[in-house]
């Protein structure tokens, strides 16, 4: 098997009937519920249902985040509603390619990539798809790291709404999509959090079980 060649068979705590503390790293007995060193709660390796729950929630709220307006801009009495994608197109039409790319990347590419990656990882663990554990782990780390940057959009909306309040001249208010998008990012982050990377390795260890 391709990945068995790359992954050295190693005795893990799990294989040894021990349970590692995720806080201080001490290996505790499998039956222990608290870490004997740091006292942190020792969760048994969770299943994937939390991941799926958060992921589905994040995907659900991502729909209104794209359908409803993110920003409600009022300039000189003229009200304009911008959805995320509409804003990207507006920026492209105005020639702001870089900004358009950033917005597109942060608001659409990353969340969508997160859904896909988390879903892939979860499915791969569940159905023990053959893959190299290192690549999966790196994928997981990238998703967890980059997930927070999706919030850049929410931050922009929040800052604009707070700053741009010039009555008739220009007023910016957050739309429904801003809340939805923030929730979606938070849910996917929770989903990423809920995914225990040890499952990757456990799946890698016993692909054929």
């Amino acid at each position: 098997m391709a990945h068995t060649r790359t992954t050295q068979p190693v005795l893990t705590a799990h294989a040894a009937g021990l349970r590692g503390c995720r806080t201080c790293g001490r290996a505790n007995a499998a039956s222990a519920t608290t870490c004997r060193r740091c006292g942190a709660g020792l969760s048994h390796v969770p299943g994937l249902q939390l991941v799926w729950a958060w992921l589905i929630a994040g995907m659900v709220v991502y729909v209104p985040a794209n359908v409803y307006p993110m920003l409600r801009t009022q300039t000189m009495g003229r009200t304009q509603d911008n959805t995320i994608l509409g804003g990207v197109f507006d920026l492209v039409q105005s020639g702001y390619w870089l900004v358009a790319f950033i917005v597109f990347f942060a608001s659409i590419a990353i969340p969508v990539a997160k859904f896909v990656v988390i879903a892939y990882l979860a499915l791969a663990v569940q159905w023990r798809w053959p893959m190299r554990g290192h690549a999966r782990h790196r994928l997981y780390e990238v998703v967890e790291f980059i997930g927070r940057w999706s919030m850049i959009d929410v931050f922009v909306v929040a800052i604009l709404s707070a700053l741009v309040q010039f009555n008739l001249a220009a007023t910016v208010a957050p739309g429904i999509a801003a809340v939805s998008f923030a929730l979606s990012v938070a849910f996917t982050m929770l989903a990423a959090q809920a995914f225990d990377p040890r499952l990757i390795w456990r799946a890698a260890e016993s692909p054929m079980q």
Binding site: A16, G47, A53, W54, V61, V63, P64, G77, T79
Partner: protein
């Protein structure tokens, strides 16, 4: 390492539901919320309507809002052309709550910035872009159509938005020159409404436009209200001086109308009442009848004369009251034969109500009324408005003596009322004739003649003969003086003395002759006569008749002629006396009087007085005789009493009011009048005897 587990411990298998994490609530909630939001926005997205506009300048899909009373109730979704490209169809989503109440005749218009004489409107749209405003009267009970509903949009804002409280009236004016849509309607200077676009009246001269009076003020308008044009400013020159009327600024720029109630007792309005718009306040206040444009009777009057001075709008008067006006003046060719004749035709617009024909009468009734009046002599004629005015009005006058005529009713035009020759012709010609005659008067000849007469008189007076006339009079008086001074006249006292002596003897004889006795006897016989008279009373009426004729003749005596002749005589004498030479007479007269005095002196000295004394003595003896006779007076008085009693009886027999008595009284009155006439003449002569001579 203690008690390390030797085996991989499998967690106990729990049931599917027990194993389920509560985190699953989160996606369920998210789905629920999303679905709820989606469903709500679908439900609340509003109804789609289509509005057709002639043009859609500034309307942007997705941005342009639809507003009701300046509050957003929807937005435009798309702007497309109608299939035939004649209109722009704007699709808009309207909030359900509003859309359900939209009636089919709801008004939509695009609000744009607009600068007019009345101000600037829609300024906010300069920055925010245009929006579509709607106005309508909400219909609550209508059955809401679920499908796509279409409306027709207006190009500009309606002057009167639907649902506004007020009254709409119609006004009729001669022209719409000075009125622009939206011009204010003023009442005592306060804007209470405005007018809409004027349009040409159907089938009649002038224009018709609607005006809208806002709610609380429309109650001030009754059928007695008059409207007039306050556009611009008016200058009128009259007997009161120059009047300059200036309306408010807006009405100067856009035109405007004002109204006031010019008489009391107006009836409340119904919708769409038609009023006449008068050109100015004066004429509006002068008018007393409500004219209904459709009710005015068009009638023509034709004149052979020039109609100079007659203008369109001139009054038509009937018995001095304005009953209409001249609506038009034109020439008309009559007798199309070889010798064409042109008559001037004035088209009159008569108001039935001005004739007092009642509120319901129309032109037909008025025409038949006028036809009957024409048969009785009603004619139209031109008349000046004043003595020296050249402005003409048309009078409907009743000339029963005029030649019979009837109201002509041609098929294709207005009825023609027969006309009468104008009054002004007479006036003008007679005035002209008078002036001509004055001009032709031979004043210079008259003056020359007068000068000639004066010269003749002067020559006459300067004539030596005339100058000699007074001298002759003086000579006459001188002769009279010599006559008085003559010895013959000096002897006159002696003659007088003789006469007195004779008088004395006569008195003595009278005393001797027992005249009293004779008087008694006479009275007795008079009594007998009276007795006979009493018997002969049957003849008295005839006697009285004769007496009356006698008196009448006496009255008819030409005393007045006599007096007139005397007056003439006096006047001639006066004229004569006024002459210079006559002034010399008085001294001559004075000397003559002096002579007379001398004569009287002579008379006194000549023993005349003594003779008179003697005569008086004789008279006293005669009086004594009379006194003797009076001793018998009682008897005489008794007889007289009897006579009176008989006379009273006689009178009583006829009664106080009997004809004879009346006639006798009349006779006496006549006699008295005659006597008085004589007495007056006598008194006049007595009072001023020399008036006979000198006339003064």
């Amino acid at each position: 390492m203690t008690d390390a587990p030797e085996m991989d411990v499998q967690p106990a298998r729990k049931g599917f539901w027990r194993n389920l994490s509560p985190v699953w609530l989160v996606p369920i909630l998210a789905v629920a919320v999303s679905v709820w939001i989606g469903w709500r926005s679908y439900v609340e997205r509003g109804a789609l309507i289509e509005i057709a506009f002639p043009s859609a300048a500034g309307v942007v899909p997705g941005e342009t809002t639809v507003r009701l009373r300046e509050v957003q109730v929807g937005h435009v979704e798309s702007v497309v052309f109608s299939p035939d490209l004649t209109q722009v169809v704007v699709s808009a989503r309207i909030d359900r709550a509003v859309a359900d109440l939209l009636p089919p005749d709801a008004e939509f218009w695009v609000v744009r910035p607009e600068v007019s004489a009345r101000g600037i409107t829609g300024l906010t749209t300069v920055l925010s872009g245009v929006y579509i405003e709607t106005a309508f009267i909400p219909q609550r009970d209508q059955t809401v159509e679920r499908g796509l509903r279409s409306f027709t949009g207006r190009e500009s804002a309606p002057l009167i938005t639907p649902g506004r409280e007020g009254t709409r009236i119609s006004l009729r004016a001669r022209d719409g020159n000075r009125l622009t849509p939206g011009a204010p309607v003023l009442h005592r200077g306060i804007e209470v409404g405005h007018i809409e676009s004027p349009s040409l009246a159907e089938g009649a001269e002038g224009v018709v436009f609607d005006a809208f009076i806002n709610a609380p003020h429309d109650q001030r308008i009754t059928t007695a209200t008059r409207f007039w044009d306050t556009s611009g400013f008016s200058v009128s020159l009259g007997t009161g001086g120059v009047r300059l009327g200036v309306g408010n600024l807006a009405s100067i720029l856009t035109g405007g109308i004002a109204f006031a109630e010019v008489q009391s007792g107006g009836a409340p309005l119904t919708q769409n009442t038609v009023f006449e718009l008068y050109p100015d306040e004066t004429s509006a206040r002068r008018s007393s009848t409500l004219s209904d444009p459709g009710e005015a009777l068009r009638i023509a009057a034709e004149f052979d004369d020039s109609v100079q001075g007659l203008t369109v709008g001139a009054e038509v008067r009937y018995r001095g009251v304005r009953v209409g006006e001249v609506a038009g003046i034109a020439a008309r060719l009559v007798d199309m034969g070889p010798a064409p004749r042109v008559r001037m035709q004035a088209l009159l617009s008569l108001e039935p109500r001005a004739f007092g024909l009642g509120a319901e009468t129309g032109p037909e009734e008025l025409e038949s009324f006028i036809a009957s009046q024409v048969a009785a002599g009603l004619r139209a004629r031109m008349a000046p408005t004043g003595l020296f005015s050249t402005t003409l009005v048309i009078e409907l006058v009743e000339l029963p003596d005029s030649a019979p005529a009837s109201l002509l009713r041609p098929e294709d035009s207005a009825a023609v009322i027969p006309s009468a020759p104008a009054d002004l012709q007479d006036l003008t010609t007679s005035a002209q004739g008078l002036i001509e005659r004055l001009g032709n008067l031979p004043i210079e000849d008259v003056l020359e003649q007068a000068i000639g007469v004066m010269a003749a008189v002067e020559a006459l007076l300067a004539d030596p003969g005339t100058r000699a006339a007074p001298g002759a009079a003086v000579a006459l008086i001188d002769e009279a003086r010599t006559l008085i001074g003559s010895p013959a006249l000096q002897a006159l006292p002696a003659d007088v003395q003789g006469t007195v002596t004779e008088l004395r003897t006569i008195l003595a004889e009278f005393a001797d002759a027992r005249a009293a006795e004779r008087l008694v006897a006479t009275l007795e016989s008079a009594q007998q006569v009276a007795d006979g008279l009493a018997e002969a009373t049957g003849e008295v009426p005839a006697l009285i008749t004769e007496l009356r004729t006698l008196v009448a003749r006496a009255a008819a005596l030409e005393a007045e002629a006599l007096i007139a002749a005397a007056t003439r005589l006096i006047e001639s004498a006066d004229a004569f006396v006024s002459d210079e030479g006559t002034q010399a007479l008085p001294p001559a007269l004075a000397s003559a009087l002096g002579e007379v005095e001398a004569v009287l002196h002579d008379l006194r000295t000549g023993g005349v007085v003594e003779s008179v004394n003697q005569t008086l003595a004789s008279a006293s003896s005669a009086a004594e005789a009379v006194a003797l006779a009076t001793q018998e007076l009682p008897a005489l008085a008794q007889r007289l009493d009897r006579l009176v009693a008989q006379a009273e009886g006689l009178v009583a027999a006829y009664g106080p009011r009997s004809p004879i008595n009346d006639e006798a009284l009349a006779t006496l009155r006549d006699a008295r009048a005659t006597a008085r006439a004589f007495a007056q003449l006598a008194r006049a002569i007595e009072r001023n005897p020399n008036s006979l001579l000198f006339g003064r």
